[in-house]
């Protein structure tokens, strides 16, 4: 206490507090910059860790897989037959597949989802299990790129035949054949946990397999996808297990499209940044919907393995090798006696061999939240607080109205987009919403009547709310928290700039600066820009809007009920803010 006492006295003596208050906007900005710098420093040596298997029972790559040459012909045979089915519709393909599965002695069943073709699934009951736990192998008829998934289908049949001959299984194995790996798989997963008659116990792990028809007998490397919906990740142990097995099979694995042969700072940083972005976009765009995220929310660890090739003839990995990877992974998961280890759910991958865990990366977003809170504080400190409190009911009412309007939008836009033909509605609403920021250009024509007190307390409250939003998302969806934190940074400059207004017209630099800040921090302007940069136009918006109903991905709600209302309030404040001429003159005289 003595030290604190001395420090406090010193601070008081030097009059540091008023000085600090004066520099609060700068502090806020510096904190935001340091957060980004911190993130960039993470891929440097010493800041990340090497992956390791946390659960000893998994023992990956400790067994010899017999899914080898003897199975090669069987897989080829199945592929031949499946390729012949390519011109039939899914239901008749399912019938033939069902007959094969029944020949192997598996229990088959259908899930009628009501909007697409039925999903066929088969259950292999474990010879040694209690019938309470299961693993799932998912092979959609179409890959996420829309190609015919014949290779993976043949592999699944080959594996099913191979698995039935082994007596080691203590967990049931479920083979799932949905028509696609998006909505229909999601609906199957939901139904499995709610109303399907044929079930096989709780699914511990799921592997989604893609090996499209163009690849032929050989592939070169595996693309591994692991992002779940709403910022969830599968247990790192599952990823590590698959990676170790791939390593023993001498298969290259690429994460976020970056392979693991030559790892250096740049590739680690790229993987990190791409990982954060794709975690935000999971379920929203075609490229970021890979099947594994459909298992989110049911305590299932899921990954997607997609066989890929760049230029044929360089490196040959034969199709049964991919089968061995699946076999090895399933046998490892089969060893699990309890659940996956608790501490391995919060991580960011930098390559298949390096990761950072929550304690290390969390500060990046925490600093951003603090930076926003500080700018809220500096906004509120620039006005008379007693006056602000007396206006509290007006301020709260304004927020309630804005929030109600946004709630209306949150419910109506998905309805409109879902019922409309084509993408006209989504394109129009995106255009309207994203151009709202340009309204602030027209603010010189508005009649100004908001006093400084009300304006600044509204702005301060909005910034505080965004800061709270980021805090709330920190653990559940770190990537989204970080993204929102970075994208709303321009809003923190608004109160500082508005304090520097000399006149409310285009001669005023601060005035123009504010307009730019407002335009770029509009969430829908961001969505529009991101959509165009990523090359899917208004599809990103459509995905964002529909993902809540289709996949229970709540990014849409966060954007429209958290970020957007705060942005509206700040923009409204800017448009109706009346500068105090007397105060301005006083400043000039000084």
């Amino acid at each position: 206490m003595a030290l604190a006492e001395t420090v406090l006295r010193k601070i008081h003596k030097l009059g540091l507090i008023p000085k600090i208050i004066k520099f609060l906007p700068l502090c806020s900005f510096l904190l935001a910059v340091s957060s980004i710098l911190y993130l960039i420093s993470l891929p440097m040596d010493g800041n990340y860790r090497n992956t390791y298997i946390s659960e000893n029972a998994l023992m990956p790559a400790q067994v010899t897989s017999y899914f080898r040459e003897s199975e090669w012909n069987i897989v080829r045979g199945y592929r031949e037959s499946i390729t012949k089915l390519s011109d039939q519709d899914v239901s008749s393909r399912n019938k033939i597949l069902e007959s094969w599965l029944e020949q192997l002695g598996l229990t088959t069943s259908y899930h009628v989802n009501g909007f697409a073709n039925d999903t066929l699934y088969a259950i292999m009951h474990a010879p040694r299990g209690e019938n309470t736990e299961a693993m799932a192998l998912v092979v959609p008829w179409a890959t996420s790129e829309g190609k015919y998934n014949s290779g993976a289908m043949a592999l699944a049949m080959g594996l099913a035949r191979y698995f039935t001959r082994m007596s080691i299984w203590s967990k049931n194995i479920v083979f799932v054949f949905p028509p696609d790996s998006r909505k229909s798989l999601r609906s199957w997963v939901d139904a499995y946990h709610t109303d399907l008659d044929e079930t096989a116990g709780s699914i511990e792990a799921a592997v989604v397999l893609e090996y499209d028809e163009t690849l032929g007998d050989y592939f070169e490397f595996i693309d591994m996808f692991y992002h779940g919906l709403n910022g969830q990740f599968p247990n790192l142990d599952l990823l590590n297990t698959a990676n170790v097995i791939n390593y023993h099979e001498n298969i290259k694995v690429s994460i976020e499209g970056i392979d693991n042969k030559n790892i250096d700072y740049t590739t680690r940083l790229l993987t990190l940044v791409k990982g954060i972005i794709s975690s935000c976009l999971t379920g929203l765009t075609q490229e970021n919907t890979n099947g594994c995220e459909e298992f989110s929310g049911w305590q299932i660890q899921a990954i997607t393995l997609r066989a890929r090739t760049k230029d044929k003839g360089e490196e040959h990995r034969d199709i049964t090798q991919l089968g061995r990877v699946v076999d090895g992974t399933f046998r490892s998961v089969n060893n699990l006696l309890e659940k996956f280890h608790q501490s391995f759910f919060f991580y960011l991958l930098m390559s298949s061999k390096n990761f950072i865990s929550i304690g290390t990366y969390l500060p990046a977003a925490v600093i951003l939240a603090v930076s926003l809170a500080i700018s809220a504080l500096s906004a509120i400190l620039s006005i008379d607080r007693n006056e602000a409190i007396s206006n509290l009911s007006f301020i709260l009412r304004t927020f309630t109205y804005v929030e109600i309007v946004c709630l209306g939008l949150a419910l109506s836009i998905p309805k409109l987009v879902a019922t409309s033909e084509g993408d006209q509605v989504s394109a129009v609403s995106l255009l309207v919403l994203s151009s709202l920021g340009f309204l602030s250009v027209g603010s010189i024509f508005f009649k100004k009547r908001l006093s400084k007190t009300i304006t600044f307390s509204l702005i301060s409250l909005s910034l505080l709310l965004i800061s709270l939003l980021i805090t709330a998302l920190l653990i559940v969806h770190f990537s989204l928290a970080l993204m929102i934190g970075i994208l709303v940074l321009p809003l923190t400059f608004v109160p500082t700039l508005m304090n520097q207004f000399t006149g409310q017209d285009f001669k005023d630099k601060a005035y123009i600066g504010t307009i730019i800040c407002l335009i770029v921090s509009n969430p829908f302007f961001v969505v529009l820009t991101a959509g165009n940069v990523l090359g899917n136009g208004s599809d990103l918006f459509e995905g964002l809007v529909l993902a809540w109903n289709d996949l229970q991905c709540w990014t849409w709600l966060v954007v429209i009920l958290g970020w957007f209302p705060c942005w509206i309030v700040i923009t409204g404040c800017f448009m109706f803010y009346k500068i105090d001429i007397d105060e301005l003159l006083k400043k000039k005289l000084q």
């Binding site: 206490m1 006492e5 406090l8 006295r9 008081h12 969830q232 929310g297 305590q299 659940k339 608790q342 759910f345 919060f346 809170a373 504080l377 709270l468 805090t471 709330a472 653990i475 559940v476």
Partner: protein, 423 residues
């Protein structure tokens, strides 16, 4: 309409209409760990009604922890048509009653302090005090969850009210006795309320103590005996009170207790039980004494504040707290607008900390229970922050009061110009 009437009507309708129109709200809120504990859960009350109806022993199976008389009295509504609506009405009336008492106490307190310190009476108006209670989200949620803690509050308010307005210590003690019967922790409020009675009744100090204690214990004994007669067994003592003291039912809540007993080895249990119980008790007396209004010095001390502080302290150290407990303490605080608030220093920090912990409670619980990615440490860490909020509030209020007392004692006009050091 007058503003006060408006507040009462809106506050009442909020509590009555929402659960009447959307009955699932009560069930949903009643299942959240922040609002409902085994001790005050509405679900277990309904279970108890069923037991009563079927002639099963009320405490069979260890689900019910409500005292027998409460169950029997409330079961009257169970037999009426639209029983849910009747319950909504009872809970609404309870809250309106508390709000009304708060208004009275606010009027009195500020009148009394104005006289005491010779200052102008600049209290909050009645409608604002009522809104602080009726529109406090923590209180609204607690009420909508139909937590039985509301009944305890009713009798607590009544107990304080009787001391102030009738000077009738026996009545106050009977009310406190009922409150203790309804929820065990009220027993810790006996010292501050007796001390308050001491300050409020000008004559016959010995009578206050002797009569007060005697009647309090008589009331409690009478209630317990009649409960025994109703149930013809002593089981309720074990289920209603010992469960509270010995934390027999380990479920997560916003308090500090449960985690220690789930994670700890069994042989540590008696030690921690003793520690937590002593800890609850040990601060009650010092707070009471420090704020005691001695007759020799007319201006120092504030026994009413002592009651509030002890209540917040109890919310911190209780075995089964809810967020409503702190909400109740907070709703009383606006009464101190003139005397203490100007000297409090950390309101911004406390408010922000409280907001963040309220925000993270459900999220971390969701991570732990639903997603399975988090674990109990997540939830407990927020419980700890919630504890810190309590401690900060108590510290800040005590500091404010002591600074104010200091300025009165030394006749300092403007305390804010002073450079006070905390040693």
């Amino acid at each position: 309409m007058q503003k006060l009437t408006q507040v009462f009507v809106i506050g009442g309708l909020l509590r009555f209409l929402i659960p009447s129109l959307i009955p699932s709200v009560v069930q949903a809120l009643g299942s959240t760990v922040e609002l409902s504990t085994p001790i005050n859960s509405y679900k277990s009350l309904q279970e108890a009604f069923y037991y009563l109806q079927q002639g099963i022993d009320l405490y069979d199976g260890g689900v019910n922890h409500h005292p027998p008389l409460l169950v029997i009295i409330l079961s009257v509504f169970q037999s009426l048509p639209f029983k849910e609506v009747w319950f909504n009405l009872v809970y609404t009336l309870c809250d309106l009653f508390i709000a009304w008492k708060l208004i009275q106490i606010n009027r009195w307190y500020n009148f009394y302090s104005a006289k005491r310190y010779g200052k102008k009476n600049e209290r909050f108006s009645d409608d604002i005090i009522a809104s602080f209670y009726l529109f406090n989200p923590l209180i609204v949620l607690t009420n909508l969850a139909h937590s039985t803690i509301v009944f305890t509050w009713v009798f607590l308010m009544e107990s304080i009210y009787q001391v102030i307005f009738t000077g009738n210590v026996p009545r106050s003690m009977i009310a406190l006795g009922i409150s203790t019967y309804l929820s065990f922790n009220s027993v810790y409020l006996l010292p501050p309320i007796i001390a308050f009675a001491h300050a409020m009744t000008p004559t016959n100090i010995h009578r206050v103590y002797i009569e007060g204690f005697a009647i309090y214990f008589a009331a409690v004994a009478l209630l317990i005996m009649s409960s025994f007669t109703c149930t013809s067994s002593w089981n309720f003592l074990d289920q209603c009170y010992l469960t509270n003291i010995l934390l027999k039912k380990i479920t997560p809540n916003v308090g500090l207790w449960w985690y220690i007993f789930t994670e700890m080895f069994d042989f540590f249990t008696p030690f921690y039980l003793g520690l937590f119980n002593i800890y609850t008790l040990v601060y009650v007396i010092p707070i009471t004494i420090r704020l005691f209004q001695f007759r020799s010095n007319k201006k120092l001390g504030d026994s009413f504040l002592a009651i509030v502080l002890v209540y917040i302290w109890l919310s911190f150290t209780k075995s089964y707290p809810t967020i409503g407990d702190l909400g109740f303490g907070l709703s009383i605080l606006p009464i101190f607008k003139v005397t203490i608030f100007p000297y409090c220093r950390y309101t911004y920090v406390i408010g922000l900390t409280m907001l963040i912990s309220l925000l993270l409670f459900p999220i971390f619980y969701y991570c732990w229970i639903v997603l399975g990615t988090g674990n109990s440490n997540f939830f407990y860490s927020i419980s700890l922050i919630w504890g810190v909020v309590h401690v900060l509030i108590i510290l800040d209020l005590l500091w404010g009061k002591l600074v104010y007392d200091y300025s009165l004692d030394n006749k300092i006009e403007d305390v804010h110009k002073l450079n006070l050091a905390q040693i």
